[in-house]
């Protein structure tokens, strides 16, 4: 398959980034080193090109009812600007995708989905539209996206970009008043009509640090990237450290911790599934799973050795029975420990349970711990 390029591809190459395929795109993995970039986000500020993420806008008289139908979280009576994290599920409780839903107005929602799932999600969402009077605009090709993350993100966005974001609360969004940069003679056009409108800023991210995500046209995103990089106050960061950062604070990645075979209940994400909601696709399955339990659960495992558990490695009982497998593992950068998330049989999922992880030819002892290896530092 020919990988797509984001609107910043040439800038990554010029910065000497190591480029690699991810989710159907050719993306920067690192510019300097993963550890350098990881620490920049934990200690100062980093900027990520996350233009590979997909965007869908749902508007029309039934927009809210439709979002409530396909989404596990509850957007009823939400104030404008509120953002929700949740999942779209199959009827059996398996996960179609995890996503953010932005309420941009009454019956006006902006959905942000995973790059690797864009075509699958769009097809699935469109199959669920019958009986709803909505307008469905797939806008992934229009929007570029930047994530500015780290304890200094607020100062960088305020001072370098001149965008007022101090008042923006965690998990809220605002349409961006058009700044003066990012002008172009040939703007790409938002499917809703018009030129460069539609830019959005939100206090969100995937690193466990304070930060912002900025959505806009390709010209706008390119100009914004340049301002951030030229300021020297913001390190360009690749997907390599995006994964180590999200992993350390226990955030799931679709394909690892969530999938068509892994429900939010198994992944420990029930708090984002509002079972008191009237209905959503997959609700009955989750109610059943909550009542009767699930065969496997996602846990954290801490190893006493430095060997690193990787995705797909087997997890065993101390007597050698296979009870599950690793979903993501790293030598944790912020806390200097080898840890992983793993999906294992529920009876072994209790905190403190001793088990083994197979790493190449050897097995290493580990213990079940909370799957948050480093504390989040959100500004709420």
């Amino acid at each position: 398959m020919e990988e797509k390029k984001t609107c910043l591809y040439d800038k990554h190459v010029a910065l000497g980034a190591l480029m690699s395929p991810f989710g159907g795109f050719i993306m920067p993995i690192q510019y300097s080193t993963i550890i350098d970039e990881h620490n920049a986000v934990r200690q100062h500020c980093g900027v990520f090109d996350v233009s590979h993420m997909g965007e869908v806008r749902i508007t029309g008289p039934d927009a809210e009812r439709y979002v409530q139908h396909i989404f596990t979280n509850d957007v009823a009576n939400a104030p404008i600007g509120q953002i929700y994290y949740g999942m779209m599920l199959y009827a059996d409780g398996g996960t179609v995708d995890d996503l953010l839903v932005y309420k941009m107005g009454e019956n006006d929602f902006f959905l942000v989905i995973n790059a690797a799932n864009i075509s699958k999600d769009v097809e699935w969402m469109q199959q669920q539209m019958q009986g709803f009077d909505i307008r469905f605009d797939h806008q992934s090709d229009y929007y570029g996206q930047l994530a500015v993350q780290g304890p200094e993100a607020e100062a960088v966005v305020e001072e370098v970009l001149g965008l007022q974001c101090k008042e923006l609360k965690f998990y809220t969004a605002a349409p961006l008043q058009l700044p003066t940069w990012g002008e172009s003679s040939k703007p790409n056009h938002l499917p809703l009509g018009g030129g460069r409108e539609g830019a959005i800023i939100s206090r969100t991210g995937y690193t466990g640090e304070d930060g912002f995500e900025i959505y806009g046209s390709h010209d706008f995103i390119r100009a914004t990237w340049d301002k951030l990089i030229e300021s020297g106050r913001c390190k360009p960061c690749g997907l390599g450290c995006r994964d180590t950062l999200r992993f350390e604070v226990g955030l799931p990645l679709y394909g690892d911790e969530l999938s068509a075979d892994i429900s939010p209940v198994m992944a420990g994400l029930s708090m984002f599934c509002k079972l008191d909601k009237e209905e959503f696709i997959g609700k009955e399955a989750l109610v059943e799973q909550k009542a009767n339990g699930v065969p496997r659960k996602l846990v954290g495992i801490e190893l006493s050795d430095k060997a690193i558990p990787r995705h797909g490695y087997a997890v065993l009982t101390p007597t050698g029975d296979v009870i599950g497998e690793v979903t993501t593992g790293y030598h944790c950068i912020s806390v200097d420990k080898s840890v992983c998330m793993a999906l294992i049989k529920t009876e072994y999922a209790k905190l403190g349970t001793e088990l083994l992880v197979q790493i190449r030819k050897k097995t290493f002892p580990g213990v079940v711990v909370k799957k948050k290896f480093y504390d989040k530092h959100y500004k709420k």
Partner: protein, 125 residues
């Protein structure tokens, strides 16, 4: 950019052998450590283990992935570089100074099938 050291034998999978009499010091090339990025763990065999040319004898783990170490020559491990247990990043600092294992060569004719620095440079291009 990667640098290349003359006088060593190189394999296609980017290990080198520095020959010292009947012994060989095996490590990874500077090109390899560049490609791997931050090395965070080195999985090494134990003293007295046998390694066989063309077969895996350990692994180097970067933040992102594990890469097998392939023995460029056969022999018996007489020493492992224990400094790498606590400071795997030494491979990033100087891959040629920080060998991984020292073996007693069992068949020095195996060296003939490895590359010299010029051939290895060409291999990396």
């Amino acid at each position: 950019m990667a640098h290349f050291e003359a006088g060593l034998y190189y394999s296609e999978s980017h290990e080198y052998v520095r020959v010292d009499g009947e012994y060989g010091y095996i490590g990874i090339s500077d090109y390899a450590q560049h490609a791997l990025g931050n090395v965070v763990y080195v999985d090494m065999p134990e003293v007295d283990d046998e390694v066989t040319a063309g077969e895996e004898f350990g692994a180097v783990e970067s933040v992102k992935a594990a890469s097998d170490l392939i023995a460029p020559v056969s022999g018996t491990v007489v020493e492992v570089n224990e400094a790498l247990e606590d400071e795997p990043e030494l491979l990033n600092k100087d891959a040629f100074a920080n060998w991984i294992i020292k073996v007693q060569l069992s068949d020095s004719s195996e060296l003939d099938s490895l590359m010299d620095v010029e051939a290895y440079k060409a291999h990396c291009e």
